[in-house]
Symmetry: C2
Subunit: 209 residues, 2 copies
DNA sequence: TTTGTATTGTTAGTTTATTAACAATAAAAC
DNA sequence: GTTTTATTGTTAATAAACTAACAATACAAA
């Protein structure tokens, strides 16, 4: 299949979550406008996304919940699953590990890293923490392909480089430091300060009108 | 000034952060390609954004760092500042509070809320925690206009409604539950599960090529 | 059976965001 | 003093994302 648009992939993830809830409620079929309502977008967008993944529902009956869940799984997940690590065990790193605990079976956090020797001894929500200088070894040994970066901004750039050297294929950067990675490494991320300032700007602008 | 594009606002926040570092290093002027390099975008985009905010640099000398910082401030910040609260004191809520501690003077987290009576007694990084049923009172009393939502997904929708009723003007939703708010309330947010699944999809796609 | 209705799938249009192109010009080089 | 160069500001072109429009059709109602 051709590569899907960025935003469509995001929504597929959301569709699946909503569909899993539907399935738990023994709902077997769902209309585009129902699914749209669950995540507050338009029915057209749902239909268009579903068209892009090549699925087709039945007229006047909607989409088969089971089939759609399993198709999205085949698109997003890999057969054997992917391993993920968290680099930097501050409040945020811990929050993420706990949050994911048992949530997604095809994406498992199998290792954490920190520079602080105190933390290295610990196991966080079942995830063992290794010293950061073993990054490369552990990543290669365990075949980890995605890293979640929650280290302090000052060291983010260097750690990012190490991660690439270790063969990581995707980095999610939660530090305020912009990273640059090579062509074939996926780079995602989120900056909480920027997002708050953005909110402030639009709140301010709304107020002035 | 006309309302700025979404993405431009985001970048302005990033420009300012980069510029503050430049100022700390006693750099007085900066070229578009230098600023672009710092956050890994193109010089054209920098120039275009700066054009949109109506600033103009000097040819062959670049932009005045001080002036640009202060202009971005006048655009994003409000004179008197805005107050922010964090709703839900789990690992993530604590992480956010600590993270912002003293970072931005014009945006201050002044209150936290939680349902757990144990947490209500506490002060987190200088921010007092109130019981969640005092949401409306405290928000109005303190004139809080932005809320950061880190409660469990199951209660997100109800808390969101209460926030609007309390007069909140912007919500940043860190729960996986989609929120719907009225027209004139700003809604931002981020979903860590979706972003990880998205990373997985692109890592997978890259590998297949 | 025929007509009407609800819903999908898809194409065309619109908006938003990014990138390319280039005129204008101040400073530097000669 | 003239030419070259580096850099800005802006317009035009392209790409990505979203929205509207509507043909096709299965089912329900008459």
């Amino acid at each position: 299949m051709k590569i899907l648009p960025d935003k469509t992939v995001e929504r597929l993830s959301q569709y699946r979550r909503a569909l899993l809830i539907c399935r738990a409620e023994n709902k077997t079929h769902i209309f585009s406008h129902e699914l749209a309502g669950l995540i507050h977008i338009t029915p057209v967008q749902v239909r268009r996304d579903i068209m892009l993944i090549g699925y087709t529902g039945t007229l006047r009956k909607g989409y088969d919940v089971h089939e759609l869940i399993s198709l999205i799984g085949r698109i997003i997940d890999t057969e054997e699953g992917l391993r993920v690590c968290v680099v930097g065990i501050g409040d945020l790193g811990r929050a993420i590990i706990r949050y994911f605990k048992g949530k997604r079976t095809k994406l498992v956090i199998t290792a954490a890293f920190d520079a602080n020797p105190e933390k290295v001894k610990c196991v966080y929500s079942g995830v063992p923490c290794y010293p950061i200088d073993q990054l490369e070894t552990v990543i290669k040994e365990q075949g980890i392909s995605i890293a979640i970066l929650t280290v302090p901004g000052e060291v983010a750039a260097t750690v990012g480089q190490t991660l690439e050297k270790a063969g990581i294929k995707g980095i999610i950067n939660y530090t305020p430091t912009p990273l640059n990675v090579s062509e074939n490494t996926y780079l995602g991320g989120y900056d909480m300060i920027t997002s708050l300032e953005k909110a402030a700007y639009f709140v301010k602008s709304n107020r002035e009108m």
